[in-house]
């Protein structure tokens, strides 16, 4: 895509619509993060299209002063795929919730990812259906008590990153609502990546699933329970910056530098661009308390995108085609004259 001069501030992306999320909802922060990210991207404002399904999170497009489409539940990936194919010159963003993307929208979601169509999917994961007032989602923790699971769920939750990689995901990153800087940096990277990029943002629903991420993201302990990965950098974390991830056979292991003989050299260096998904899979699957939860860009690998190839294939065929218009077509092949 062609790029222009920076000319926007976050404010330019605010629409005139009153923001209607609950006070304290994590969605507000994510909205801020996107509005902060876009000015970094140098696209003209009219080239953005924000497309969502249904859910609290999916109200998002109304709050963006860009083109927007608040569609129907679960179908945003398909609609966004159509929009991007129809006009590859647009910067297309899908906004979706854990229910919207992974319950009813699961099929379109994995197929968009498989096709590697160049859209940016921001997945607001609050592990609950917010808009319908608190039923469990496919991401709710095992045993969650919700309105439809009064005795606790009996379902194993999806781990979004794992499913995405299983669906041939080429770009996966994780952030959380509270970290606007991290989110906004990741959104910029996601937009710059060619192909489907999925960013899971852990988001707090104050009303129906308050503090679901607290164990990991609570301010107290956060530094010891999360790791923010950066491509090319050592996998180091912790309040004191002395913990790290090392390899133990085929598994990952948390070690403390300077203890049990571990030095910084033993710590793995993050390679987001490795094609083989093995290690990335382990990283997305890390769960507290055994591991810190991984944030940042976990996987970012290059591959042909659907929209580019569509354009190229059409151009290649047209370059040598005999049929240039419908009249040509109608008169092509077997015809005969009646006189």
């Amino acid at each position: 895509m062609s790029e222009n001069q920076t000319k926007y501030t976050a404010k330019d992306f605010k629409s005139d619509q009153e923001v209607r999320w609950c006070p304290g909802c994590g969605d507000h922060a994510i909205l801020n993060a996107i509005q902060r990210a876009l000015p970094e991207l140098h696209y003209d404002r009219e080239r953005y299209a924000f497309i969502s399904g249904i859910g609290c999170s999916s109200r998002f497009p109304y709050y963006m002063n860009t083109y927007g489409f608040h569609s129907i539940h679960g179908r945003a990936s398909a609609i966004a795929s159509g929009t991007k194919s129809a006009n590859p010159n647009l910067s297309v963003w899908q906004i979706t919730g854990d229910g919207d993307a992974m319950a009813i929208g699961g099929n379109h979601f994995i197929h968009a990812i498989r096709r590697n169509i160049d859209i940016n999917i921001i997945l607001f994961n609050n592990e609950i259906y917010g808009l319908t007032k608190g039923q469990y989602s496919p991401c709710s923790k095992f045993g969650s008590v919700t309105k439809t699971s009064p005795y606790g769920t009996i379902e194993h939750p999806f781990r979004p990153g794992e499913l995405i990689i299983g669906a041939q995901g080429k770009f996966f990153a994780r952030s959380y609502d509270g970290n606007i800087k991290l989110s906004s940096d990741i959104f910029v990277a996601a937009a710059k990546h060619d192909g489907t990029s999925v960013v899971e943002v852990l988001q707090n629903c104050v009303i129906y699933n308050d503090k679901t991420h607290e164990e990991v993201l609570g301010k107290e302990n956060r530094d010891d329970r999360i790791i923010i990965l950066e491509h090319g950098k050592k996998m180091i974390f912790g309040k004191d910056g002395n913990k790290g991830l090392a390899l133990d056979g085929l598994k990952l292991k948390v070690v403390t530098i300077g203890e049990e003989g571990y030095t910084e050299d033993d710590i793995l260096t993050h390679d987001a661009e490795e094609m083989n998904p093995g290690l990335h899979m382990m990283l997305v699957n890390m769960q507290y308390p055994e591991y810190p939860v991984a944030f940042g860009i976990i996987r970012r690998v290059k591959a042909a995108t659907y929209d580019d190839q569509m354009v190229e294939q059409i151009a290649a065929v047209q370059a040598t085609a005999k049929i240039k218009c419908v009249d040509d077509l109608l008169n092509s092949g077997a015809t005969w004259d009646v006189e």
Partner: protein, 615 residues
């Protein structure tokens, strides 16, 4: 090719080719039809595929047929019953004998009528002809397999490849009987197998062998001649319904000056629409084979949002899956053509058979008050025109529209006089231009009530649409009760106003009569033929055939009022009849319905109409 002296002149003839799925009967039929068309006959064809799965060779379930009727007058149907049946094996005879006219001619491959095959076809005795009670038909056993083998002796071909040429032998026979030059078929073979000269040689040899065999065969004399029809001058081509639909959409996209996008998922009998469009990268078509029908329509809605000419194609079960998203297209008022090629229902039903039973679904299959215009094509080639019309309405009225065709039209074909695109009207999309001041997404023009279309990418027109109720001007979300009532009325009225932009209903036959035959969609050929024949018999009857269903044309009531009785004929239980009852309650409607997965026959129609006329 020498014109035979003793050729008998006929007005029209129906031939049915039949054999195992692998016997190449579709090709044989198509080649014969093309040769006839080239010769100047009018014609109509219809393939009769076996049900979805290929059955084991030699069984009745695996029989594939192709029927063609050609004549020197206008031909509107592929014929009820055939004059000549070509049967490549006992199963083909068994499956098709019911479609042969009493006393008709049956040419069959006598080599294949050996005990094993006869048993496989489910005959109980060893003499199928007797078992079927058709001894007094004109039965012509021809040793097709053996003579095919003989024809290629010395070419060093294996048995399987040889038997694959059998169909050319049969074609040769029929070409002789109807005095068709072989040159057309030979040309075809040369083109098709350019890279396999052996195959060309073998097929040509067999073709000529069949021709020569027929010449020497007494039973076939005299030969027949169906003189060329007096059809309009011009350049012609053969068109099947699905191809015509795809091309008509392309024509609309070109006239609207919008790139074409099709999001679709394969389903019988609609798949060829997608396939035809997937071929058209030369015309810039973006074809998106989606993961399911929901994604098919949703990608198309996304493309319409982005400013493309958007299409999705499917059949009944797929249309059901698109129901929810259709509502989104209604609410967002985006142009979108939904092609539904009807097949036998309910559920998976009879996927390879024809039916007209998706009308209700097209009209009402959505939540809420969700009006969508519905139009229907009525012949294989007019699928082009109605696909074009659908595109024009969608874009100019900013609405989704459903185009109904059916399995009979989709797979049937007929010669089509190639039009020039300059004969078709422009399609004017209400696109908002950059710089338009005070633009409002849901403001609309007074006449059509269409809103305007702002493409993402246009500076200054940033806006948001969606499935929640919209403010009647700004398009933002509105929960206001009165606004909802107004918007409901607007969406309804917008579709009704399309009636101001479509041609009047025309009637075949007298302006007033005892009986008005009413039909819609794919039954036109049969109804037309039946009514014409009755008119020739001096009966007081006329035909009003509908292509525009929602909204109805403005003169319908006026037309209906001129006839004493109205009979609505449909391949369903009476969906259009009921639709007429609720729209034009003042008339009484008789019904004539058939739900057998088959088209009407002209004979049964005439019988029924005669009865009604006598009552």
């Amino acid at each position: 090719m020498n014109k035979k002296a003793n050729a008998v002149q006929l007005d029209e003839v129906t031939i049915r080719f039949s054999g195992d799925s692998g016997d190449g009967m579709q090709l044989t039929g198509t080649l014969f039809s093309n040769a006839s068309a080239l010769f100047g006959n009018d014609l109509s064809t219809f393939p009769d595929y076996p049900a979805e799965i290929r059955a084991p060779q030699g069984t009745v379930g695996g029989v594939s047929g192709f029927q063609v009727k050609f004549g020197h007058k206008e031909v509107n149907t592929p014929g009820d019953y055939c004059n000549i049946l070509v049967a490549m094996n006992p199963a083909a005879l068994k499956a098709n004998v019911q479609w042969v006219k009493n006393g008709g001619t049956i040419i069959f491959d006598s080599n294949s009528f050996e005990p094993k095959n006869i048993a496989r076809a489910g005959f109980k005795t060893e003499d199928p002809i007797k078992e079927l009670g058709i001894e007094d038909f004109n039965i012509i056993p021809a040793p097709i397999s053996n003579l095919t083998k003989e024809a290629v002796v010395g070419l060093g071909m294996d048995n399987k490849s040889i038997l694959r040429c059998k169909n050319m032998f049969a074609l040769g026979i029929v070409c002789y009987v109807f005095n068709r030059p072989l040159s057309f078929t030979e040309e075809y073979l040369e083109n098709k197998f350019k890279k396999k000269p052996d195959v060309i040689t073998a097929n040509k040899l067999v073709l000529n062998a069949g021709y020569n065999y027929a010449e020497t065969l007494e039973a076939l004399t005299p030969t027949y001649e169906v003189a060329p029809a007096e059809i309009k001058k011009g350049k012609y081509r053969n068109m099947s319904g699905n191809q015509a639909t795809a091309w008509g959409l392309l024509a609309a996209s070109e006239k609207a000056n919008l790139p074409m996008f099709i999001g679709s998922y394969p389903i019988t009998p609609a798949t060829e629409v997608l396939q035809e469009l997937a071929k058209r990268k030369d015309l810039g078509v973006k074809s998106f084979q989606a993961e399911d029908e929901i994604a098919g329509i949703c990608t198309s809605i996304g493309a319409a949002f982005a400013g493309n000419f958007a299409v999705t194609s499917t059949s009944g079960p797929g249309l059901a899956l698109k129901s929810e998203a259709l509502g989104l297209a209604v609410m967002t008022e985006l142009p979108l053509v939904i092609v539904n090629v009807q097949r036998g229902g309910p559920s998976t039903g009879l996927p390879t058979k024809t039916e007209q039973s998706d009308l209700n679904q097209a009209l009402y299959g959505r939540n809420g008050e969700s009006p969508i215009p519905v139009i229907a094509a009525s012949t294989p080639s007019d699928c082009f025109d109605y696909a074009f019309a659908a595109g024009k309405i969608a874009v100019e009225h900013m609405t989704p529209i459903i185009l109904l065709t059916d399995g009979f039209l989709a797979n049937g074909s007929e010669p089509w006089r190639i039009p020039s695109m300059s004969d078709y009207p422009e399609i004017k999309a209400p696109i908002v231009k950059e710089g338009t001041k005070d633009w409002m997404p849901y403001a609309r023009d007074e006449e059509k009530m269409a809103r305007t279309w702002a493409f993402p990418g246009t500076p200054g027109l940033e806006h948001r649409i969606g499935g929640l109720e919209k403010d009647k001007l700004k398009g933002s979300v509105s929960h206001d009760p009165i606004n909802h009532e107004e918007m409901t009325a607007i969406r309804d009225e917008k579709v009704k106003r399309i009636a101001n932009h479509i041609p009047d209903l025309e009637v075949v036959g007298p302006k007033e009569a005892d009986l008005l035959v009413v039909g819609w969609g794919g039954t036109k050929g049969h109804l037309h033929t039946a009514v014409n024949e009755l008119l020739e018999d001096g009966k007081s009857v006329a035909l009003a055939h509908f292509n525009y269903i929602n909204p109805l044309q403005k003169n319908v009531a006026e037309v209906f009022a001129r006839y004493k009785k109205i009979v609505v004929c449909e391949i369903n239980l009476g969906q259009f009849a009921n639709y007429l009852r609720m729209n034009l309650q003042q008339f009484q409607y008789l019904q004539y319905n058939k739900v057998q997965g088959l088209p009407f026959t002209v004979i049964e129609l005439k019988d029924h109409f005669n009865k009604l006329l006598e009552e």
